[in-house]
Symmetry: C2
Subunit: 242 residues, 2 copies
């Protein structure tokens, strides 16, 4: 298994450069990367803008929706790239189009490299439940691709939240649940460990090795203290370090 | 219909005083207020701490879980109070215990006053979908109490998010979706108008009149600009002002 899973928040020039470098490495020797735009409602627009954002790539990016039969699209793909957006929309379509099992097999058995950013990284987990997105539509099930054995919480941030007024730049403290608190609620009912990827962070995945690149990550386990790691660390599938 | 719906974030002394005053008004002449603790996993602990937080009340607070038959609990209640916590947990129990319709009827037909803060305000809406909470468990349906004709997004805040490092107090910008962006995603697939209640804000509801108290609110309609209002304004059921 080979995958690149990004938190999102790729909004600075440095982060964009890192993204392009890691994507090129992930999809080395690929000619045809199939892009899955289902986290958006505008498949054509999203696929075009992703082509632009990716820059000059060695591989061609084709939207999965451009194939009459999406299963055929997966057959001819030598790379799979799932874009960010709303995780509920994305997961619903993956189920409705019966793509969960075929994508899992392509990545795990046929070793097709996978990339996913934000919602696309979230759904690489066993379940979509650690999304931050609003439930804009019902899903048939929370099950997602399960190409990694732990949960990703993308766009993770530590501590309290503040918002800044546009008019005068003043900061106001917000008392809503912190991300860590939300994940601890998840752990009241679920056991899978969660990695909170700070924005700009990536996990470079190779079988049972997961290298943290670009920014920090917080490891959250049921009933345990949060552990925060700097980039460069290597995790295994249990999110412990070697 | 008489209801008090609060955003949450009641963490300052001023906000706590306002909360107690408004709760006393909402439950005037009530002897027995039934508290619904299902947004938590610890019904006894939550009910006790809510009694403490409410302070000296004219009415008795009884947990709905203390009744052998919850429907009997609703029968003898002359006030219903739904506490905050995780909206998914809460909505699941409301469905499993078949309480949606009985609570709706108690509030709409029998005019039993209702109070809800955070998740408890959220579920007064037709759907639970405008929650900010993590989907820690599946719900049978998104349908919620529907005692008001619009959606509440509790703990609303405008603009971008920042987080503050505990160690040095530095602010870092976060690029995840703003709340307004999340609600606009909701409006890609749903039509119901949404009121984003700033923390510390309450809606004092009387039939088709909804008075904003305590803090601002943002009115978000499908495809329209956000309108922000100061406390004191009176909305109708379509969230337009008279």
């Amino acid at each position: 298994m080979k995958a690149l899973l990004g938190s999102g928040g790729i909004r600075t020039e440095g982060r964009r450069e890192l993204y392009r470098k890691l994507m090129a490495e992930n999809f080395t020797d690929c000619e045809r990367v199939v892009f899955i735009p289902f986290a958006s409602n505008d498949y054509n627009g999203y696929t075009s803008s992703m082509r632009e954002f990716a820059g000059n790539t060695e591989y061609e990016i084709i939207g999965l929706h451009e194939f009459e039969d999406p299963l055929m699209g997966l057959e001819v793909a030598d790379g799979i790239y799932v874009g960010g957006g709303n995780t509920w929309l994305l997961t619903k379509q993956l189920h409705l189009q019966k793509l969960i099992q075929p994508i899992r097999e392509a990545v795990i058995k046929r070793k097709i490299p996978y990339a996913g950013v934000s919602a696309g990284a979230n759904v690489a987990s066993p379940s979509m439940q650690t999304t931050n997105d609003m439930a804009i539509t019902m899903v048939p099930s929370f099950e997602s691709l399960g190409i990694i054995p732990f949960q990703i919480n993308p766009h993770y941030h530590p501590g309290g939240i503040w918002y800044r007024e546009k008019e005068n730049g003043d900061f106001h403290q917000h008392f809503g649940e912190s991300r860590a608190r939300r994940v601890s609620e998840f752990h009241e009912l679920n056991d899978t460990p969660v990695i909170g990827l700070y924005e700009g962070a990536f996990l470079k995945c190779k079988d049972d090795e997961f290298e943290l690149i670009g920014n920090k990550a917080a490891i959250m386990r049921k009933g345990e203290q949060i552990l925060t790691y700097d980039p460069g660390v290597m995790f295994n599938g249990k999110l412990t370090t070697a």
